[in-house]
Amino acid sequence: MAEPVFAMEHVSKAFGGNVVLRDISLSVEPGEVVAIIGPSGGGKSTLLRCATTLEQIDSGTLSYGDLQVATTDASGNVAYLKGDALRRAKSRFGLVFQSYNLFPHMSVLKNIMDAPIVVQKRDRAEVEREARALIAKMGLTGTEDKVPCQLSGGQQQRASIARALALNPDILFFDEPTSALDPELTGEVLKVIRQLAAEDITMIIVTHEMAFARDVADRVVFMDGGMIVEEGDPAEVLANPKQERTRAFLARYSG
């Protein structure tokens, strides 16, 4: 089996006395699409925030390919990569936020090109060529010189996906990418994510769109109470959940 693109082992995280992640282990193979579902407050977003180093883990290990980003020693102290090494690790993943978080003062093209040029110090002409190709792929042709406030929510989210892809990450995380969108705009964003899945881009997607999870994901992970309650083949987990909590959660969705 190939080396996992991303792996977290025995990760725990608490905010004050409130334990949000309990001994989570999750790894993703190249090309795999994992959908994380579960009730709000179940730890899904915190898992993504820990994976993307926006939050520090309290214990466990975090790695991207051969790069160990965080390790815990025998006495329980967590050590993170620092400086350039951490920056190199960060270029291995991308994160798409629920609220897009595009840079409002930059055009769509600049939003996509800025990090590759400034952070990765790549050649401007080459970056621009790739950025324009990404814009076309995301169905955003014609918005290159517009600023985010001139775009619809769906366009903004697709631009933010393009921004994340521009750094050529090995894995892309999505934190409820369509939760801020109406059904029509949700459809256009899910369409581009489907397209990425078809291209074997490795992804972890936190979502409330069950039909989408079933169609696109190779594996569904159900999280509740800071734990992975159940995981497996989407059709299996969504149609015949083994755990009572998964059943209760899904029952609310199917109505």
Binding site: T52, N101, P104, A115, V118, V119, Q120, P148, L167
Partner: protein
């Protein structure tokens, strides 16, 4: 004395007024940056120091600060005052006073940038300095422009406080002329000067605001 002569004398004083104005901005706009950063520092003593600085300089009259800075070298260190001392004290007082106001404006601007902007930059791999220069600062400038405009317009009028310490700017000249000519006309002329100058300031600020109006957030 006719109006032309008076206007000529006032114009001379106006040169000094503009010099105070310009030197204050050139000194205080950059000085406010480290003060604002200190005010937001995670290091408590530094934060407290900035807080005390801002509190005192905003909480006491600028005129009084001018006198304090003028006399302090003599009373504290026994340094002889020279004819230049008044001018130096005046400029230093204006700079440290306005830096306190600007620092608070910078701080509120920086703190108004949503956390998501910092998080997006962090995940994309920007360093802290790059995040500040490329993501935060351009947005802060747009946000603080109206408050900065307010302060700059106040500064134009505040330059008249320099008369208290004996710096011959336009208002000192106007007062002297009013007394010697037994006429209110010098006051009227100086009012026109202040207003016209501020009108130009308004136009410039308006232009910058319009330039940054290409986006909303």
């Amino acid at each position: 004395m006719d109006i032309t002569t008076m206007t000529g004398m006032l114009l001379e004083g106006f040169g000094t007024t503009i010099t105070i104005f310009a030197l204050t901005l050139v000194g205080s706009i950059p000085l406010a940056v480290p003060i604002a950063l200190a005010r937001m520092s995670r290091f408590l003593p530094l934060r407290t120091l900035a807080r005390v600085y801002i509190s005192i300089l905003r909480g006491t009259p600028l005129m009084l600060q001018m006198f304090a800075i003028y006399f302090a070298p003599y009373y504290v260190f026994g340094i002889e005052l020279t004819p230049d001392s008044k001018w130096q004290a005046c400029i230093i007082a204006f700079i440290v006073n306005y830096a306190a106001y600007f620092a608070e404006i910078y701080r509120s601007g920086i703190q108004s940038i949503p956390r998501g902007q910092y998080e997006a930059a962090e995940v994309l791999g920007y360093s802290r300095a790059q995040t500040f220069a490329r993501i935060v600062l351009p947005q802060v400038i747009k946000r603080i422009l109206p408050s900065m405009g307010n302060e700059v317009i106040t500064l134009v009028k505040d330059t008249s406080l320099a008369f208290a310490i004996g710096v011959a700017e336009m208002f000192s000249t106007a007062k002297a002329l009013v007394a010697s000519q037994v006429s209110m006309v010098p006051f009227a002329i100086s009012a026109v000067f202040y207003w016209v100058f501020n009108f130009l300031v308004e136009i410039i600020i308006g232009r910058v605001e319009k330039k940054l109006d290409y986006y909303h957030d």
